[in-house]
Amino acid sequence: MTDLTSLTIAAARDKLKAREISAVELTESYLNAIDAANGALNAYVAVTPDKAIAMAKTSDARLAEGKGGALEGIPLGVKDLFATEGVHTQACSHILDGFQPKYESTVTGKLWGEGAVMLGKLNMDEFAMGSSNESSYYGPVVNPWKAEGSDEKLVPGGSSGGSAAAVAAHLCAGATATDTGGSIRQPAAFTGTVGIKPTYGRCSRFGIVAYASSLDQAGPIARDVRDAAILLKSMAGVDKKDTTSVDLPVPDYEAALGQSLKGMRIGIPKEYRLDGMPEEIEKLWAQGAEWLKDAGAEVVEISLPHTKYALPAYYIVAPAEASSNLARYDGVRYGLRAEGRDIADMYEKTRASGFGKEVQRRIMIGTYVLSAGYYDAYYLKAQKVRTLIKRDFENAFRAGVDAILAPITPSSAFAIGDKELAADPVKMYLQDVFTITLNLAGLPGISVPAGLDNKGLPLGLQVIGKPFEEETLFKTAHVIEQAAGTFSPKVWW
């Protein structure tokens, strides 16, 4: 019998429905795989075996009656940013020490409502701030991929590094993730998985620990485009508890797969061609455009003139919102408390010992740019630049472009503890140069594996679409996947 963890969600779904396998068997296979691998990969920060088996049993009972939701019996991992009732929820921060919410996030609640099984909580950069998963209080996640002939440990990307690594290493069938500046798409690219950041408002943010509220959006990381489509269908939808969630029908994303690209116009933004970009990425991008042409699309060059200002605008807007959102961690209502001589001293000591370096840095920047006398120069200016960035995309779409093809990352996965990146926060921020524009404009983007570099490490391409046209992304990414194939790491753990 083949290893059940090798099944995609689509394949497992069919076998569960046909009662060829049981949800308990499938769940046990994953729990065993986690046991065997997590010491080496550190993808999970909490495993919930009892809950998983109980949920799987319920699924088997429903399946036996010929009932069951869209994800009945499918074992999933959940990023530690999502509130899960009675289960470890700490955004991988020390400051939320011991926090177990009394409520469930809307997105995870919807997944369980469709019959999915929770395996546990996945590692991430602290409060989703990072591009390498090295800022987690629980230590870095190790990428299941290694360069050929090398034993060096690589990062899985971030902030959803645990989600991406767990999906790539088959430690869950799929995972929830979130993306504020690239946190779904960059780790997906580094691990050879598929990740989609939907349009802002497509998924409810209720119960997701807030980082930068105007940019945060939930989405899935999965093994292939079809699985991502299946997961997003169950995660998306309007929610009374999040007034920024949008009341639009959720289409059957899976049905978009295999649709023709004939008559589609794909834009190639010339500003994404950076100086010093590795030739392999340039080649892969050109190859991606060829694949789309072969599928009947027309490829045109477009201009998004304000692209270079996206990163600096982000590093004002996101820290500003974070400094406000993270004010709630004060040692009073939940999590860690460090004693002090008075209440202010208690606040300061709690926050100094509870927040890691990168989080402190972003709170400080945010506090500074919002402080008296600087608001107009920084925050207001950045929000105006954001309008211009969004306008660039609107102009391209108005000129007849249906979707945009771009790289995801400026390189393949880098080493854990990379000295150059650790020494200069701005260098690490540049990881998100191709992804961050979408968050600022609220647009959807999908990351799909498109090949391996000369070290044998996965590289991805990004398809960017119009607001709420995720179906276009799925059908376009599916064409790339059909041409490029799918990629799995060699098991070494």
Binding site: G201, Y315, I343, K384, V385
Partner: protein
């Protein structure tokens, strides 16, 4: 614009994060690096441009002004590091 040590300490105070002199020194370098990076925005002409307030052009929904949740005091304090009879306990604030 760049920040000096006194500004870093003032911002840390506003952020309610205790910093040692050594940490403030380190942060000064990092913050100035980031502020230097975002300085690029000064090149952009934003005259006549409205600041973005929402990425989606949809107006906020309003709900009926009615109580739909509550009566969960025990749940609210369940995760508090120090609580008593559904009150949060903090160091003495008033002498």
């Amino acid at each position: 614009m760049s920040v000096d040590l006194a500004t870093v300490k003032r911002v840390a105070r506003l952020s309610r994060i205790a910093v040692t002199d050594e940490e403030a020194e380190r942060m000064m370098g990092e913050l100035n690096g980031i502020l230097g990076f975002v300085e690029q925005l000064s090149e952009v002409d934003v005259s006549g441009v409205e600041p973005m307030t929402s990425v989606t052009p949809i107006t906020m929904r309003q709900r009926e002004d009615a109580v739909t949740d509550g009566d969960k005091a025990a749940d609210v304090v369940a995760n508090a590091p120090n609580a008593d009879q559904n009150f949060f306990l903090v160091p003495k604030v008033v002498e």
